[in-house]
């Protein structure tokens, strides 16, 4: 129970109450007086049904310099795992509503954000490779995070004049990078922005360094802000 309490950042009293009430998260124990144990699958199911806690654990993984073990279903250590889980998300969308293909816009922007992390950090991950990718189908929210180098470090290699996170995030979401530039890539986030701007049901939050951007439909100017808590890599929340 102590491990689960630390992992989810929920106090043990709350976990006991949830267990005794047969609610949010059930433990496994041989008798009412023996220790409470949790299966990792139950914790993963709990997170997929409670985005608030999923977001919190993803946040701690992405923003802390320390490493801690994250439930395996959330962690994509390489691109092949991410690809498989993205296909699984797509299959879940199709199962939910077989006649509606608008899900493809969601899976395509998730694909662009997730693959961006792998493309831009290949061989350059500062500590942990890979990304966290989790979602709650019932709450229609998705989180993606990496502990890579972030937008400023990546873009300043081809755009030396960039010195601040806010400048870099603006370039990433607004400027078309020519195919003749040293890096033949860098247009994925422009696509992400376009999809969110053109579809009223899609909202995106993105952070890299101290810079944040919120994208909503029909907004003519990017809403770029600055926050105190810095992330070295990238952090994205998609609502749809």
């Amino acid at each position: 129970m102590g491990q689960v309490s630390a992992l989810l950042d929920i106090n043990q009293q709350t976990l006991r109450r949830w267990d005794d009430e047969g609610g949010k998260l059930k433990s496994h124990r041989s008798s009412t007086t023996s220790h409470r144990y949790y299966y990792i699958e139950d914790i993963e199911d709990f997170l997929s049904q409670n985005f608030k806690y999923l977001l919190d654990i993803s946040n701690r993984w992405a923003f802390n310099s320390d490493t801690f073990e994250i439930p395996p279903r959330l962690y994509c250590s390489d691109r092949a795992i991410f690809k498989a889980r993205l296909s699984k998300l797509e299959a879940a969308f199709i199962r939910e509503n077989p006649s509606d293909d608008s899900y493809s816009l969601i899976t395509s922007i998730v694909g662009e954000i997730g693959n961006n992390s792998f493309d831009h950090n290949l061989g350059k991950w500062p500590d942990l490779p890979g990304i966290v990718f989790g979602y709650s189908l019932s709450e229609k929210k998705i989180v993606l995070a990496d502990r890579g180098q972030g937008i400023l470090a990546t873009l300043s290699r081809v755009r030396e004049e960039l010195k601040e996170d806010k400048q870099a995030i603006r370039v990433a979401f607004t400027e078309i990078v020519s195919g003749r530039a040293p890096e033949n890539r860098g247009n994925g986030l422009k696509y992400v922005r376009k999809i969110a701007e053109d579809n009223a049901n899609i909202k995106i939050f993105f952070q890299s360094g101290q810079a944040t951007v919120n994208i909503r439909s029909k907004t003519e100017h990017l809403n770029i802000g600055q926050v105190d808590s810095s992330i070295r890599g990238c952090f994205a929340i998609i609502e749809y």
Binding site: E90, S104, G111
Partner: protein, 96 residues
């Protein structure tokens, strides 16, 4: 030549996979006589992205120019991706 993109999968998202797909199909394209049409059919593709598309469609466009024709542009992510590639490269694909 008529090629179905679903042969490469229904979820076409990463640059790496797009590059591999183009490398895999290249040997079967043969010598271009300068008059052959190349039709790329998107039927059955569930998810498509600019990253995959840029690695696959852009080289096809360079090779075939106006003789490249895109078919079954119906899926929302296919439509949005093609528009984005046209904007990035200031080009226009022939579509049916």
């Amino acid at each position: 030549m008529h090629l179905y993109l679903k042969k490469f999968g229904k979820t076409l998202t990463s640059r790496e996979d797009g590059r591999e797909a183009f490398a895999a199909i290249q040997p079967s394209l043969g010598d271009d006589k300068g008059s052959d049409k190349m039709e790329l059919n998107f039927e059955g593709v569930n998810t498509f992205t600019p990253s995959w598309g840029d690695e696959f469609l852009t080289p096809f466009l360079k090779k075939y120019g106006d003789r490249l024709i895109l078919l079954n542009i119906k899926n929302p992510s296919v439509i949005a991706t093609i528009k984005m590639l046209e904007k990035i490269h200031t080009i226009s694909f022939n579509k049916k």
